[in-house]
Amino acid sequence: MVLARKETVLAGARGRPSRRPRSGSRIVGSRRSTLVLTVLPAVLLMVLFVALPALEGIRISFSDWSGFGSVDFIGLQNYIDAIEDSPFLGSLVTTAIYSSLSMAGIVVIATLLAAAVSGRVRGSAFYRVVWFLPGIAPVTAAGVFWAIAFQPKTGIVNVLLGAIGLGNAHAWLASPTLSIYPTIFVTVWANVGFAFLLVLGAMEQIPTSVYEAARIDGSSTLRTFFSLTLPLIRPVLAITAVLELIFQFNGFTIIWSMTQGGPGYATSTLPVLIYTQAFQLTHFGVGGAMAVMGGALLIVVGLFSIRLSRSKQED
């Protein structure tokens, strides 16, 4: 009934006679002017604030703009500069490591936690609320806290490790090889809550009768989890993984507040490097070229992983 009426509305809005009989009500067809006045502003804002800036971003990437004055076209020079003599390629590797490890950590921990809570352990309402706190707190505040916590000797992480005999002088954030791992840790810490809610939502869709059948068949908890729960939630798991990969590929704030991309360029993922290039070195063109290439890569990776997760579901 409601559906039929909606289709009448839709047909009416298109100015065509409806194939279905009108239900006798006078509501239906919104006037064209109302639709234009209500729908168009939001669309125009998207054009003005997203589409045009994106095009302008591409234009700047072909220019030698230095923060003021005219935007002069210099062809592909910024792209050549970005690829040839800059930390760009290294940053791509850093970004890949950072985003894929963060994504893996987030999805694995979120899944384990969701499995525990959907098993109706005691206090699950409490857990749900508490686990989301790191995702609610302002990211910079969390980043600043953890940056201090990871300091050698005085930082709380080192103090605790020292107390259990694992040494208290780890200077992770100052190490070119290790500094990426604390940022990954904090990224996982801050983002598990969100992924947990998505995965839990999927697990709660599974009818309890499925579990009862498994229990009657004598399936162990672990076995039920791996051969029943996981396959059933795989679509949501795949979407969560793709989402988190894209989020962390774009991630800026945690790294910026913990290491500012350093030491050197050790933790400069793409968004951090672009910020440094554009706003600290005022190489807006080179930064823009990196943004265009990184953006294109992100779209390719995103589409590819959506494809991949879809084809896996069809197995």
């Binding site: 009500s25 706003f279 943004a291």
Partner: protein
Amino acid sequence: MVRRYLGLTVGQVLLIGWTALTLLPFLLILAFSFRTNADLYAHPLGVGGSYHPENYLTAWQGPGDGAGMVTFFTNTVIAAVLALVVTLTLGSMAAFFATKLSPRLRSAFLGVFLVGQVVPFVLIIVPYFQVANELSLLNQPAVLGVVYGVLAMPTTVLVLNSYYADFPYELIEAATVDGLGEFAAYLRVVLPLSKGALTAVGMLMLVYVWGEAQLGIVMLQTPQSQTVSIGMLGFQGQFVSDLGPLFAGLSLATIPVIILYLVFNRFVTKGIALGGVFR
């Protein structure tokens, strides 16, 4: 049986361990906010020695010539109000009336916002700076608030549009029969009935504005204009040798949004269940 018991124990350890990991940083921020550097080094767990509530006063007023929490809060409120107004008024209106478009137009409409959601953020930051700089709109939290409102539009529109797709149309029908125009019916019938969904979207919006830094750091360069999350980055440098007030700042930056979440967590969860994200 043994294996089952073992599994349960591993599960319990995981639950308790993760809960500790999510709670401890906040408790530590609170504990450290009353300390001096000397106390922090002598009693790294935050207990023992002397306590200094005046750290909060320092954080509230800011270091020497810099801006303090009072300024950051004011700026955040300005940005948040504008962001909420922009995204909720224009977003919900468009989302509702888009359900009345023809199928082709409607999917084109949704397409605009889907594409808007995947445009790489790094690509549009430099142009924002360029235009804001040219029009002298840098360092104005109100301007940033409007931009936040528009950037949140895809989430708002997509969430609300799927919500309105299942809206009971009989109610609007009844209202129009009663002589209300369709826009008046939207204002007086639809909006009050979608309070829950609007609150959910609004909560996501507040958390987003409260924590956003990637655009804020570019658009708000003077300390006097910064929001809470950008202000924390300034505090990090200014209080590098006086950690007590820094932690007091972190605590003030975190407590309001956590209280808001504890009161409205139902709506945050609902917003996420409806497909909302924080960015």
